[in-house]
Amino acid sequence: MGDVISVAMGNLLTPMVLFFALGFIAAQLRSDLEIPEAISKGLAIYLMASIGFQGGVKLSHAGFGLNVALSLLAAVALSFLLPFLAYFLLRATTLMKRETAAAVAAHYGSISVVTFVTATEFLNSQGIPFEGHLVAMMALMETPAIVSGLLLARRGASKDGGGLAGDNPQMSGEVLREIFVNGSVVLLVGGFLIGWTTGDRGMDAVGAFMLDPFKGVLCLFLLEMGLVASRRLRASKLGGGMVLAFGLYMPLVGALAGLCMAWLLGLSVGGATLLAVLGASASYIAVPAAMRLAVPKADPGVYVTLALAITFPFNVVIGIPVYLAAATWLFG
């Protein structure tokens, strides 16, 4: 227990978490601090390209075998199935409308790249190795949850007699584009394939750019995330304590599902921690745009706030060391 507390405290005092806290506090104090949008997009692009590339290089060492193929399939299944559990919990414990509950559920099946990246840095700082193909699993978990969210919303819409924008052929095309070729999926998968193909030769060529500045860039991006999460929290009206509670307990439920999947796949402690993080995290980039297109009656103020302002800070500050402790206890 003492070890868990000391690891958790160690996580709180990393530059990443402290920069996140700085952004959060600055926004609460109504500071005019802000990172220009183009720069924050540039930082996000760097982080996604780099983490994809690093994962690909790792896989080039380990090789692509049956276990990797099964892991990728498991990742898709986890992302697809988690929204059904989230939807059930939301409908059972809150008064949230069907469309909004379906949209929220989709966010919790998908993942947060930044939470994952922060967790990989946390594991690196603890000297805990993890499998390279976890990055590919992350990329594949971005969007299956959108399909589940649409299925849940459609079920709700047919019961309520309402229509979905996704029924319009043009909007369906937009949603499909969002599912298969949204920017983060393209960049993560593309970076991963480039890293896998070029291996150590590629790392020698671009490692000075792709690897060395990584932690510093992550700190700056977490500063931006702190500002954004805090401002979102200030502007939000979640409509009930149970909705807020969902944003705190659903990550634990998702992490447990991730740990069960890790046990089935025989992952290492580091790999199991990262799969728990993937199960626990919620999307705030790819899924909100898709849900806005396809489920217009769902309230974006609820799903963006839950994923960005409640679950993201919870995972970064408290969740990651807790998931590592659980993985160590179960698999160590």
Partner: protein
């Protein structure tokens, strides 16, 4: 100086709806538009602006200058696309210097 009467249609809509609306504008055969991304403001659905990373809570504006017939078609079909969504669409009279551009 000779000027030509046209209609200016302005559509303020959610950022994720920009692509579908531009698709409609092109389908109607309108020859050009201007798009202003990442806008904030306040309306009957409350405040909107850049308080997230997805753009789901931000607004954008599309400006189209076109003939009266095209403008009415755009108003009618654009309004259908905005059903159940945050957004406004309106038009006004303008005079342009180069008729062949519109």
């Amino acid at each position: 100086m000779e000027t030509f009467k046209k209609k200016r249609v302005e559509i303020i809509l959610e950022q994720p709806m920009v692509r579908p609306m531009l698709h409609l504008i092109e389908k109607l055969g309108v020859t050009g538009y201007t798009m202003l991304p990442h806008l904030s403001g306040k309306g009957h659905t409350g405040e909107r602006g850049e308080t997230d990373l997805s753009g789901a809570l931000a607004n954008a504006m599309i400006i189209v200058i076109t003939s009266q017939d095209q403008a009415h078609r755009l108003m009618e079909q654009g309004l259908k696309l905005l059903t159940d969504r945050t957004g406004i669409i309106y038009m006004s009279d303008v005079e342009v210097a180069r008729d062949q551009h519109f």
